[in-house]
């Protein structure tokens, strides 16, 4: 794989995002309005409910943020990219870009959610790590599935039904980890098994993305 193309490709994704700023603003507004809906619906959620609502917001925001990564550009233009750069580098750039985007969205959701519904989180470093791990895992799974779905005839619903079952183990583990962040700082917490599982799942998924992507992009 040609790694030199990676940074220009990442740069291209960012430029494209800034050029179509309405999409980014749309996602940000989506997160803020979901947080507001939660605020209106339940004024003070208990920690387990907080956990569930928070990760649901993240899940739906992520799917909406990532789903466009392959439909944003026309098929002809994508074919042009595949000739200029290594397809593997292209998909890796998209995964990295989406991970950064999701991390930013996660941070935004955390801040907004903490403002309206007092966060029960006690261990912020662990929570930030959970958010980062979650962004990476969601980014890999959703980017790959949106690549598959973009080839189908109606792709919008397909992304959701194809990716929810795939990310469910990741989501459950993330919720366990973030629930561990609610315990007071004095108590010992063994977060390593969950972190290790998430890293293992990420490693499997990213390896599969590299192996399988060549079969997707060729038409």
């Amino acid at each position: 794989m040609n790694w030199r193309n990676l940074l220009p490709l990442l740069h291209k994704e960012m430029v494209l995002e800034l050029r179509q700023r309405y999409a980014l603003s749309g996602i940000v507004l989506y997160v803020v309005s979901m947080v507001f809906v939660v605020y209106v619906a339940s004024v003070k959620p208990t920690p387990p409910v907080w956990n569930t609502l928070f990760w649901l917001i993240i899940l739906f925001a992520s799917i909406n943020a990532v789903v466009k990564s392959f439909v944003r550009e026309s098929g002809a233009r994508q074919l042009y990219y595949y000739q200029l750069a290594d397809p593997a580098a292209l998909v890796l750039a998209k995964v990295l870009y989406n991970a950064l985007l999701l991390l930013a969205l996660g941070g935004l959701a955390t801040v907004a959610f903490t403002l309206v519904a007092d966060s029960p989180v006690q261990r912020w470093p662990l929570f930030a790590g959970t958010l980062a791990l979650g962004s990476v895992s969601f980014s890999i799974a959703f980017t790959f599935i949106s690549a598959i779905a973009s080839k189908a005839d109606q792709s919008a619903t397909l992304v959701a039904i194809l990716s929810f079952p795939v990310v469910l183990p990741v989501l459950l583990t993330l919720m366990r980890l973030s629930a561990a962040c609610f315990t007071p700082a004095g108590m010992p917490v063994d977060a390593w098994p969950d972190v290790r599982n998430l890293l293992a799942v990420d490693a499997i998924l990213i390896a599969l993305v590299f192996v399988l992507f060549p079969y997707i992009w060729r038409d």
Binding site: A141, F144, I145, I148, A149, K151, A152, D153, Q154, L158, I161, L162, F164, P165, V166, V167, L168, P169, L172, T173, R176, P193, D194, N197, A200, V201, I204, L205, L208, L212, Y215, I216, D219
Partner: protein
């Protein structure tokens, strides 16, 4: 051909043996289940598949209430009322071991031909207040010894399971078959990506289809079983949830296959999704259940059986059942694949 016959023979054996072999003798409950130290009590033992009234030869039926390996109380007199009810007279000792105010005793009945049967935590023996004096010699006078084993072929008696233990030969193999079929489906998806032949794609689809069928059967048989043993058919057990998710993945696979107007493209992308989904199925079925509590046997949801969950008579039916169901699953998938091939030929797609 030979494997189809093997499948039928093994399944017939599993069904006949699974349903006809009797359970070992067991004690369902005893009455009363509470007693005081120092009193004389008549305790009725209600047996399951027992032969209390059957003549027992020179060795009489012996009955114990025991605390641990060291302390046990033997009944003074034993009188069978019929085959399933036994009346035992106990002279409760004057005090309890280890200075306790109450102990939980296990009931044990030993019949020379029907074997020994055990009911854990059958009786609570109370003492008004802890005594300092020496321990009543009755605790150590008649230790549990020279127990008999039931002769012949029989399945273990388990207090919550009773006869539903036979479901082991039907519910559990479904998961083995499901995994084998999904693995075969992925194998043919990989082959399809390496060499796009319509037959590989048809096989991958057929194995996934039959895998879903076995998943649904496993879920249903598990829910019937759970209704008897856990009290309700669905208790959000981690394995039930993971199974439902696994089935969702394969439903999504079929929706993806159907959403392409170009069948070759559909087959290729479905193959890619199949491989991707199978990889995410492994944490679903093997890692996650170990991380959450579960009602299933094995330590907190360990997906494997514990060493004590199967005895040798059960193994003699369980392993043939797995093999039989697996062969049947592949047989159905094979027929399904050939039917699809004929349909495609008739439509001129092949």
């Amino acid at each position: 051909m030979w494997w189809k016959i093997t499948s039928v023979v093994l399944l017939l054996y599993a069904i006949i043996a699974g349903f006809l072999v009797p359970l070992k003798s067991g004690i369902e409950r005893i009455e009363p289940s509470v007693a005081q130290t120092g009193e004389q009590v008549q305790i009725r033992f209600f047996g399951y598949n027992t032969f209390f009234a059957r003549p027992s030869g020179e060795t009489p039926i012996r009955v114990w209430l025991y605390y641990n390996d060291q302390y046990a109380l033997m009944a003074q007199a034993v009188r069978p009322l019929n085959d399933t009810i036994l009346e035992a007279t106990f002279q409760m000792p004057a005090n309890l071991p280890e200075g306790k105010t109450f102990v939980l005793l296990n009931a044990l009945a030993d019949h020379p031909t029907a074997g020994a049967s055990l009911l854990p935590i059958a009786l609570t023996l109370r003492q008004a207040r802890a005594s300092e004096g020496p321990l009543d010699p009755a605790w150590t006078a008649h230790p549990v010894e020279k127990l008999h084993l039931q002769k012949g072929f029989s399945f273990p008696y388990q207090n919550i399971l009773y006869e539903t233990i036979r479901n082991t030969y039907f519910h559990v193999p479904m998961w083995f078959v499901l995994l084998f079929l999904f693995a075969a489906s992925v194998w043919y998806s990989v082959r399809y990506l390496r060499r796009p032949e319509a037959d590989f794609d048809r096989r991958a689809a057929a194995y996934a289809e039959v895998g879903i069928l076995f998943g649904l059967l496993g879920l249903t048989s598990g829910m019937v079983w759970a209704n008897y043993t856990w009290g309700k058919p669905w208790s959000n057990d981690i394995k039930q949830l993971m199974t439902a998710v696994a089935l969702l993945i394969y439903f999504a696979y079929f929706i993806l296959r159907g959403s392409f107007s170009d069948p070759e493209k559909g087959a290729r992308l479905a193959a890619v999704y199949n491989i991707f989904a199978f990889a995410s199925l492994i944490p679903l079925l093997y890692i996650l259940p170990r991380m959450f509590d579960s009602l299933h046997p094995g330590a907190t949801g360990n997906p494997a059986f514990g060493t004590q969950d199967l005895d040798n008579t059960m193994r003699a039916v369980f392993y043939p059942a797995i093999l039989g169901w697996t062969l049947l699953g592949f047989w159905i998938a094979d027929l399904r694949m050939r039917l699809q091939r004929l349909k495609d030929k008739a439509l001129g797609l092949d």
